[in-house]
């Protein structure tokens, strides 16, 4: 029997891959979706903090990575990136914050000029190019918010489909402090149903979103929105526990994908096009492993940039204790934001900026509050016990600070460490640009001012306004990763073209956060969703013209 050749093979089922699968199956293409992780049932989505929030046993228990310290030559093994290996991918455990990047965030190089030590770039597309696809994502994913309340946002043709969620006491306190300081707080646009929407129920505000799966599908994910729709078309062959390890090439084109099942048995699928959405770590890792093409440096890597320019976000924080209950254990990680510190201003001692979000990721459940926030003076004994008693009185909010891309920050194949199948693990190298550090400290001071203006009795952070205590260099987050296959118009300085199609391999595409040349000062997922809608739209239109 002749082996089936699918129209499209999609690798990964998260924010990027899930949308591509949905859109292309709806347009009638035959799609095989390969997901390295299992197909979890919602019965596995519990709110056990130890299993989910602390040990991350649900979403990616087998994730293996290494972290390379270029200064010392030391390599650590473990799992560093907060990503999910399961049907639905990392968006399964997101907290739903759904921002449109601002117009200037698509043209950082031309806004700022070049900066020493950084590889700034303009995106090959503008906010105007993305706006219709932001709107599409907002309405498919049922965003709750107040259109027009975010005064510095780019222009929008249409509001949000759902009203905002109510605030809890903690949100109201941040709102009060921010207003006191002259800022303009507003509800975070959230991909969590504030009322029944899209055949899914409204949220009950139970307090386990980020790091958890939603058992009732009130949180919008590709698991809950896109994949059920795609399955219903009959055009999708979805294969879970299928870890792609190679993209075979023939005559300059990719022919499909080879994957291992859970037992380590190899399989191959054939497809006319491959759209990779394995994530900012997984996509370059797979491209670099695929050596059967013309380049010994991996698939689609004539620029030498596959895996380079890895970016995270810095999250400078205020963790503040109040006299009264703040009830951060109700609701979501964040309900309120202000964006008045975002606009780039070199007079502050750094360029770029970020939104400030309520982010009770450690203050909404008791283990992480006790483990992570006590500070070195109170990490055991009577001080720790008192800190535990502050659980319901503590509030955490954070900046989502844009990092400057650096070529030396990268994902590559670890030369020594192999995974359980004997394949090289992805090795992450990451250092800070001086701009990132300056921005982090400046933001931390402003956030602490807001906390005090809100009436906080104590700030748990080590650096207090007026006292320049700097303990250690801030570490950037393990989530919000971007940039390792940047898109651009010049094949010498980018991996993908403006449609996120490889400059080198005409039937190979990328649809995840790795395509972002710079990472903006916002949670990135709505942009990954919108970009996947944009790529799908182009793919469908161009297929109709038979030019693919």
């Amino acid at each position: 029997m002749k082996k089936q050749v699918f129209d499209v093979c999609v690798i990964g089922t998260g924010a990027g891959g899930g949308v591509i699968i949905d859109q292309l199956t709806a347009a009638g293409f035959s799609v095989v979706g390969l997901e390295r992780g299992p197909y979890l049932s919602t019965s596995e989505y519990d709110d056990d903090e130890l299993r989910n929030g602390v040990r991350d046993l649900v979403f990616s228990p087998n994730q293996e990575e290494s972290f390379y310290n270029a200064a010392t030559g030391e390599t650590q093994t473990g799992s560093f990136s907060r990503i999910s290996h399961c049907v639905g991918g990392t968006i399964s455990h997101w907290d739903g914050m759904s921002w449109r990047f601002r117009p200037d965030e698509f043209k950082v190089l031309s806004t700022e000029g070049s900066v020493a030590g950084a590889s700034l770039a303009d995106w090959p597309i503008s906010y105007e190019d993305m706006a219709p696809f932001y709107e599409k994502a907002e309405w498919d994913f049922g965003i709750s918010g107040t259109a027009g309340s975010h005064s510095t946002e780019g222009s929008r043709a249409r509001g949000y489909p759902n009203p905002p969620h109510p605030y809890r006491t903690a949100s109201k306190m941040i709102e009060k402090g921010a207003t006191e300081m002259g800022y303009k707080p507003f509800p975070i646009p959230l991909a969590i149903n504030s009322q029944p929407y899209g055949g899914r129920p409204g949220c009950v505000r139970g307090g386990a979103c980020r790091g958890y799966g939603c058992p009732i599908h009130a949180k919008s994910t590709t698991y809950s929105v896109s994949l059920p729709r795609a399955t219903a078309t009959g055009k999708l062959d979805l294969r879970a526990d299928a870890m792609v390890f190679e993209l075979p090439m023939k005559d300059g084109r990719v022919t499909g994908a080879r994957y291992l099942d859970v037992k380590g048995n190899a399989h191959e699928v054939l497809a006319k096009h491959v759209i990779c959405a394995a994530g900012t770590i997984g996509t370059p890792h797979l491209m670099l492993q695929s050596l059967s093409g013309s380049s010994a440096d991996g698939l689609g890597n004539s620029s030498g940039l596959v895996g380079k320019n890895l970016q995270f976000h810095h999250f400078p924080s205020a963790v503040a204790v109040f006299d009264d209950d703040m009830r951060a254990y109700t609701g979501f990680e964040g309900h309120v934001a202000f964006d008045d510190l975002h606009a780039s201003d070199a007079k502050r001692g750094f360029i770029r900026g970020g939104v400030v979000i309520e982010a009770n990721i450690f203050t909404h459940q008791p283990i992480m509050h006790s483990l992570a926030l006590a500070g070195s003076q109170n990490n055991w004994g009577a001080g720790l016990k008192d800190h535990m008693r502050d659980f319901t009185r503590t509030v955490h909010f954070a900046g989502v600070c844009e990092e400057l891309p650096m070529e030396s920050n990268r994902v590559e194949l670890d030369p020594n460490i192999k995974d359980r199948f004997g394949l090289p693990v992805p090795r992450i190298t990451k250092t800070n640009h001086p701009n990132d550090i300056a921005m982090s400290y400046w933001f931390e001071k402003r956030l602490n001012e807001v906390a005090l203006a809100a009436g906080a009795s104590r700030i748990l952070n080590p650096s207090i306004p007026g006292l320049d205590i700097k303990l250690e260099e801030p570490v950037s987050g393990a989530e919000h990763n971007h940039g390792t296959c940047r898109m651009g118009n010049d094949p010498n300085t980018s991996v993908l073209d403006k449609w996120c199609r490889s400059h080198d391999v005409p039937n190979f595409w990328v649809a995840d956060g790795s395509s972002m040349p710079t990472n903006a000062g916002y949670n990135p997922t709505l942009t990954i969703l919108a970009n996947a809608y944009r790529i799908s739209d182009y793919f469908i239109r161009e297929s109709a013209r038979q030019s693919l």
């Binding site: 709110d47 030559g73 030391e74 009950v204 505000r205 139970g206 992570a372 926030l373 303990l471």
Partner: protein
């Protein structure tokens, strides 16, 4: 180039994030990945012998002491640690057992008594020296004092605050201290009025707050 395998050392390096504010907070989530699910309520020791059990119980009692509210001893954190070292944290078991032996050796040489027989202030002194790697006579073999300390500290806090099905947090002692009403994701969540204190929340142990 050197490679640190998944040992208590790399765990400690990652947990260093717990004392850093900023993005470091987010790194703190990267704990070691366990192997199996331990949902054991049995108090029958799985890992510790009787003396080890007593020593660990005494250490946990200094990490989360008893005051006007129960501490780690009443919460049965030693049972949580015993079970997790047999299951999810089995990789840390050799370091943990070696650290216990080193602790008693230090106490015997310095104070002529095992740890459990020291009074609370001397126990705290020894633990402080472990934490700062300044304990005289701590052997070069096995984990550093600070690595062992961080391991016990982390597991004690987990045992105090994790769901009681894991063998600690007895009688919801930890959640009562934190005034955490209990998980609600599957139990109706919270109303907007409860989120701002205009309607009472009933805790798992029946209190109103």
């Amino acid at each position: 180039m050197s490679i640190n395998k998944d040992t208590a050392l790399s765990r400690r390096t990652l947990l260093r994030g717990t004392s850093i504010f900023g993005g470091g907070l987010f790194m703190a989530l990267n704990l070691q990945r366990p192997l199996a699910l331990a949902a054991m309520k049995s108090d029958t020791p799985a890992v510790f012998d009787a003396a080890q059990w007593q020593t660990v119980e005494a250490i946990t009692g200094r990490i989360v002491p008893t005051d006007h509210q129960p501490g780690a001893i009443e919460a049965n954190c030693v049972n949580f640690i015993d079970k997790t070292l047999a299951n999810e944290d089995a990789e840390s078991r050799p370091d943990f057992i070696a650290g216990l032996a080193s602790l008693d050796m230090v106490c015997a040489k310095k104070l002529d008594k095992p740890f459990v027989e020291l009074d609370a202030s001397h126990q705290d002194l020894v633990l402080s020296e472990l934490e700062s790697d300044s304990a005289a006579h701590w052997p070069n073999m096995g984990p550093a004092g600070s690595v062992f300390f961080e391991l016990v500290r982390t597991l004690t806090i987990m045992g105090f605050m994790a769901d009681p099905k894991y063998g600690g947090n007895a009688n919801l002692a930890g959640w009562r201290v934190a005034r955490y009403p209990g998980p609600r994701h599957h139990k109706g969540g919270y109303t907007p009025a409860q989120m701002v204190g205009e309607e009472e929340i009933i805790t798992m142990w029946g209190d109103k707050m």
